[in-house]
Each structure stands twice: as C-alpha cells, then as structure tokens.
C-alpha cells in the first residue's frame, strides 16, 4: 500500500512569550490525507488550526518552535527545518491565506505575480510562465486578459480568485486554504467554494479547508477534524460528525450553529477555551462540557478510534452504552 499524501504525526508548536513563558499552540496533532481528500479543519479562534497548517507549510515565525513530523509522500519535510521545507513549499503544497486581498503586490500586474513563483521554482519561465498564468486565471474564472490588470482594479472576489490561481502556479498536489471565504458575502462565498470543489475534482487536488464555519465544511468537505485547545478532539467523515458526534464539543458546536431550517434552540457553550500558556490537566474541554465526570478532571483523553476512520478523544467513549 502506498503512503498517504500527507501525514502529520504528533505535531507540536510552541510560541515564545515574554518573560520566558510559552504558548503551547498545537499540542500533538496527527492526521493523514489521501490524494483527492477534502478535509475541513474546524475550530474557534485560538484553537491552533491556522498554526497547524502554517507548520505544515513551514511558514512559522522565529518565535515558534516545532516538534513532530510532517510526511509529504512519505518524506519528512520538517526534519531539516526551513531548508527541507523550502523545496516543497508552493511546488507540492500551496496555501491560500486569510484575507488574500492583502497577499497581492499592488504595483505588479496579477499575471506577473502568478508567474513569479513559477520562475522562482523553475517550473516554467518567460513566455511559458505567462501563458500558464493566463491558463490559471482562466481556470479560476477571471479570464486570461484580466491578468494584465493591477490588483486594485479587482474586486474582493476577483482578488481571492487570483490568490487561488497564484497558489496553483506550480501545480501543487495539496492546497491549504485558511478561512478563504471569511470576509466574503454568502453569494461570493458560494462562488469561491464552488471553485475550490471544482479544482479538487478537475485537478485531483487535495484540499485542507481551515475555517470556523461548520456549515461551510459540511457542504464542501468529506472529512473534518475538530480542533479544541491545540488538539484534534474528533475527526471522521463529515456525515458521522454531524449525525453521530462522539465528542461533546462537536455536538455542542453544531448545536451552537444556527441552521436556516433548524427548529432546535441554538445554544451557546458556556465559558471560554483554556489558556494555552499553562499546562493543562485532564480534558481541556471539561470546564465547558455538559457530560464531564470525575475521570475527566485528572486524566487527559487521547484520540481513539470509535468507528471506521472516526477518532475521538473523549472518556465517554470508554463507558459502555454512553455516547457523547
């Protein structure tokens, strides 16, 4: 059997804080992706979802330290730090950033910015790169001729489309999209999501969609991983997460999300996530959990398989006849 496209094993990220303290932003995250998968990485602000994919891209700032392994096609790209990630970045793994409007250089035409990574990585050059940039712009629905214009002549959605084209410049296998539609209206959000899904199907691209928006993941992704306090607390097929959640946080997060036709009361989760600059004891979700029991106070639950390709980190799953 061939190795998965991406395998993240026990990834940790710490950020230096003043006065020799540390923020343990990602606390042992593991997941894998097969080619063509669409994975949603879901969580609230500060849960470590963006940090985790920045670690995969090797784009963390100097204040960060990283442990664990990121295997791309079986090769550990994290082993040599920046030097071993660089050859893969943009060539094998590319990223669409949150607020991509700011990721474009205002004084260069859009096409030349899309051609730039190709020239840098030597995948294409000169007229060839220009032609490919045109093709990519066509593919994301802007049109090749728009490439000669400058970013300020583009609307928000067009810039987002251009940012996607830029990410695809070197023909990556894996696309990481960090909140690609957060600042957009629903109608244009739908346009961008449709485009991302079409790209995964047409190009066989593998997608990781990082977002706080569960319904977006429900509509776009096959699988999702729910993050809380730097850990993946549950991961599995999207359908199972919604219909048979095995972690209380997943269940409560769905219950806190209003649905257009939902009849149930929308309930907030009391409290707030724990601080990550102090060591956590027991289950990190315990103070906000409605089903916590004595074991949750002292023992940290580790992720365990609960069904086919479905993992959850909750002690309730060890109790017979009780489900989250």
């Amino acid at each position: 059997m061939s190795s998965p496209l991406l395998e993240v094993r026990d990834l940790h990220v710490w950020f230096d804080l003043p006065r020799h303290r540390e923020l343990h932003a990602v606390q042992g995250v593991s997941f894998e992706l097969e080619a063509g998968d669409r994975l949603g990485l879901v969580g609230e602000s500060g849960c470590g979802k963006t940090t985790a994919i920045l670690a995969v891209m090797g784009l963390l700032p100097p204040s960060a330290s990283v442990a664990g392994s990121v295997l791309l096609d079986g090769e550990n790209v994290l082993v040599g730090g920046e030097d071993s990630v660089r050859p893969h970045r943009w060539v094998d793994v590319a990223m669409v950033f949150q607020g991509a409007m700011n990721a474009l250089n205002p004084v260069k035409t859009v096409a030349s910015q899309i051609a730039e990574p190709m020239e840098l990585h030597g995948t294409a050059s000169g007229a060839d790169a220009r032609r490919r940039a045109g093709d990519l712009l066509e593919m994301v629905g802007i049109g090749a001729e728009a490439g000669e214009r400058y970013p300020h002549e583009f609307s928000g959605v067009m810039r987002q489309r251009a940012a996607i084209a830029m990410a695809l410049a070197c023909g990556p296998k894996l696309l990481l999209a960090d909140e690609p539609t957060t600042a957009l209206d629903v109608m244009v959000q739908a346009q961008i999501l449709e485009l991302l899904v079409a790209l995964t199907k047409d190009l066989g691209l593998t997608l990781v969609l990082v977002t706080h928006d569960l319904p977006v993941v429900a509509q776009v992704c096959d699988r999702a991983a729910v993050m809380y306090a730097g850990e993946i607390v549950e991961s599995g097929p999207m359908d199972a997460l919604f219909h048979e959640p095995r972690h209380p946080y997943t269940r409560l997060l769905f219950a806190a999300t209003p649905d257009l036709y939902g009849e149930d009361e929308v309930l907030s989760i009391p409290g707030a996530p724990p601080r990550l600059d102090e060591p956590l004891v027991g289950c990190p979700f315990r103070p906000r959990c409605d089903r916590a029991f004595d074991r949750c106070v002292t023992e940290h639950p580790s992720p365990k398989p609960v069904a086919e390709r479905h993992m959850a980190a909750c002690h309730l799953n060890d109790v017979p006849a009780a489900s989250a």
């Binding site: 609230e44 602000s45 609307s155 959605v157 209206d185 629903v186 109608m187 244009v188 959000q189 739908a190 346009q191 999501l193 449709e194 706080h212 928006d213 569960l214 319904p215 977006v216 429900a218 509509q219 999207m238 359908d239 919604f242 219909h243 409560l252 997060l253 769905f254 806190a256 999300t257 209003p258 649905d259 257009l260 036709y261 939902g262 929308v266 309930l267 907030s268 989760i269 009391p270 707030a272």
Partner: protein, 353 residues
C-alpha cells in the same frame, strides 16, 4: 420588568433616501463634470414594534448599515420620514434629537474595538449616564450600572465591574457593550452584526440575550445582519435588501421557507446547511452586486436575475403583497405581484411616492 408594548409602531420609516456624493477627483472637478451620487438607501420603508425583532438582511453594500445609521441620525437623510414614537426625527436638530437618541441605542459589530481599552467595565457602562446626566449621585449611577450588567447577564456584576476589556472574552465584551446600551433604558436597540466577530460557541448566548430583552417587551430590535440563518432563528420578521431597496419583507419563517423574490431565493440557496446530507445545488448568481452609482434601469435586480423578462428592464417594481389581501408578506417583483401595482421608471429614482 414590565413591558411597554402598547401595540403601536415604535419606529416607522417611510421612503428613506440617503445618498453620498462620489469623489470626482481633480480632473473631474476641473471639467465641471456633474457631481454624481451613490444611492446608498433608495426608498426604504420599514416598521419595528416594541417587543419585535426585525432583521435587515443583505450583502455588503446593499445599504443596510446606512439605513441603521440614518435612523440613528448619524448620517443625513435626503428624503423620507423616520417616525420614532410618532415623531418625525429627520426634522430635529441635534439639541432636540438628544433626548430621543437616548431612547435608541446602537450595539456595534466589533466588541474588540467598540470598548475603550482604558475604561474599566464600570466606567464604560456608566459613560452614557454621565453624558446624558442621568442618575444624580454616584450610588445611583452604580446601582444603574449593576442593574444594566445584570440585564446583560453578566453575573455576578461585581465580578466584572472592575475589569478592563482585555481581561474579558469576546462574548463578555459584547455583553458589556450591550449593558452600556441598556443603561439609559432605551426603547429601540439597533444591533449591527452583533455577533459576526464572535466565536461560534458564544454567538447564541449574545443573540438569546438580545432576543430575551425584546421578548420581555422592553425594547424593539432592528438587527442588521448578513447571516440568514441567524435572522431565521431569532427575528420575527426579515427584510431582504438589495442595492438600496427592500426587495422582500415578511415573517421570518415564511421568508425562509417560502421566498418569493428571485433574489431572496438565490440568497437562501447559497446559505450552507449544517447537515452534510442536505447538500442542495446552490443557485449561484454570477458577478457581484452592481455599484450603486449606476443603478440598473427598471428592476435593479434584472441583470443578475435568473428569471428576468423583457418588462423587467423598464418596470421598477415596488413592494406589494405576495398574494392579494396579505399585508404581512410582500415582495418587489413583477413576477410575484402579478398584476400588482407597478410603475414606470421615471426620470428620478427617488423611490417612495
């Protein structure tokens, strides 16, 4: 707490028009090019009763925030009436407006920016009292502050009163902002995207708080939002705006389950559903909302409308009941109101009658 619902309309807006001049630039000014205007709000009428929540829904640039600002007297109106408790406030000067402004309060979108970082919670909540010289003694003010914090479900108030905003979570900050709006005992709350900057897990709490306030009959709520799911859950009625106009208005459940206007239908179809099994084909409109400087002729939605007919190019439809005799659900579309009242696009686009 006794309600003050007497059945009459708390806020009644008729044919509101707000325009902004477009910058001409130096070249334009030199050539004496005519000054052009953005019709941000172009003939909006709506009603909010005490104890009721009206959600004004639309995409960015549709004029929903400008409508709210005009109601609060924060931007000048060009024409139209804004009746608050039966009094037209558009005609009032700042001095006469002051006592009325006390009764209308705005809850801002971003609680990370709307609270002064150097003010303790107590000072933030007490500030409106100081500005409006309400509450004589310090004890009296303190009592009102504690009361407002309690109404905003900050329990126990003493625990939070002496904190700074950076010591509070996003949801708590928004509760402080709401407490600061409640302290003057307003009759109308205008909530501008009150939860869009908050984490999903705490949104429901803040929305339920606003919902509870109006259900107790204390206030009427005008909620500005782009999120139809939220509007469907918490509002009594929904008004959908497109390019400065309300295109459909009616009971929230009906708008969501039985939309009539093609824009509302499209908008609803692209809202992602929670259930992954419920993957419907979204009806994605191409392009973006046109620039409100160049409003299309006839029905302003016709260039993007999937069912537009020839007559839509010339007829500017007005809001009319979706079925004869139904006053509570109306849409502005010739295909919906059938033979309903339509009028030809005249030279001006000033809406209303």
């Amino acid at each position: 707490m006794s309600g003050r619902d007497d059945g009459s309309a708390l806020l009644e807006v008729q044919g509101l028009v707000v325009t902004y001049p477009v910058r001409r630039g130096i070249v334009g000014a030199l050539r004496r090019r005519p000054r052009r205007y953005v019709h941000a709000v172009d003939g909006v009428s709506l009603t909010v009763r005490t104890g009721e929540m009206l959600a004004l829904v639309g995409e960015s640039g549709c004029g929903k925030t400008t409508t709210a600002q005009a109601i609060l007297g924060m931007v000048p109106t060009v024409s139209g009436e804004i009746m608050f408790r039966g009094e037209d406030v558009t005609a009032l000067g700042p001095r006469a407006m002051r006592p009325i402004r006390r009764k209308m309060q705005l809850v801002y979108q971003d609680p990370y920016e709307s609270l002064d970082p150097r003010f303790r919670v107590r000072a933030t909540v007490a500030e409106p009292l100081r500005i409006h010289r309400v509450g004589g003694s310090k004890d009296d003010r303190d009592r009102r502050v504690v009361d407002a914090l309690q109404r905003a479900e900050m329990q126990p108030p003493e625990l939070y009163a002496d904190r700074y905003p950076h010591e509070l979570s996003g949801g708590q900050r928004q509760r402080v902002a709401i407490a600061a709006s409640l302290v003057l005992d307003p009759e109308l709350l205008v909530a501008d995207e009150p939860v869009s900057m908050l984490d999903v897990s705490v949104r429901a709490g803040v929305l339920s708080l606003i919902d509870g306030l109006r259900r107790r009959g204390d206030v009427g709520v005008l909620m500005i939002t782009h999120d139809l799911s939220t509007a469907a859950h918490f509002a009594d009625r929904i008004a959908v705006m497109y390019l400065g106009r309300i295109v459909e208005e009616g009971p929230a459940r009906e708008i969501v389950r039985d939309p009539r206007h093609p824009y509302t239908k499209a908008l609803l179809s692209v809202v992602p559903k929670r259930d992954p099994r419920d993957r419907t084909t979204p009806q994605i409109l191409s392009g973006e909302t046109p620039n409100p400087v160049d409003v299309p002729s006839g029905c302003r939605f016709h260039p993007r409308c999937p069912v537009a007919e020839d007559r839509c190019r010339s007829i500017d439809p007005r809001l009319a009941p979706v079925e004869p005799g139904r006053g509570d659900h109306s849409a502005a579309c010739v295909l919906v109101s059938g033979e309903g009242e339509v009028r030809m696009m005249a030279g001006d686009s000033s809406g209303g009658t």
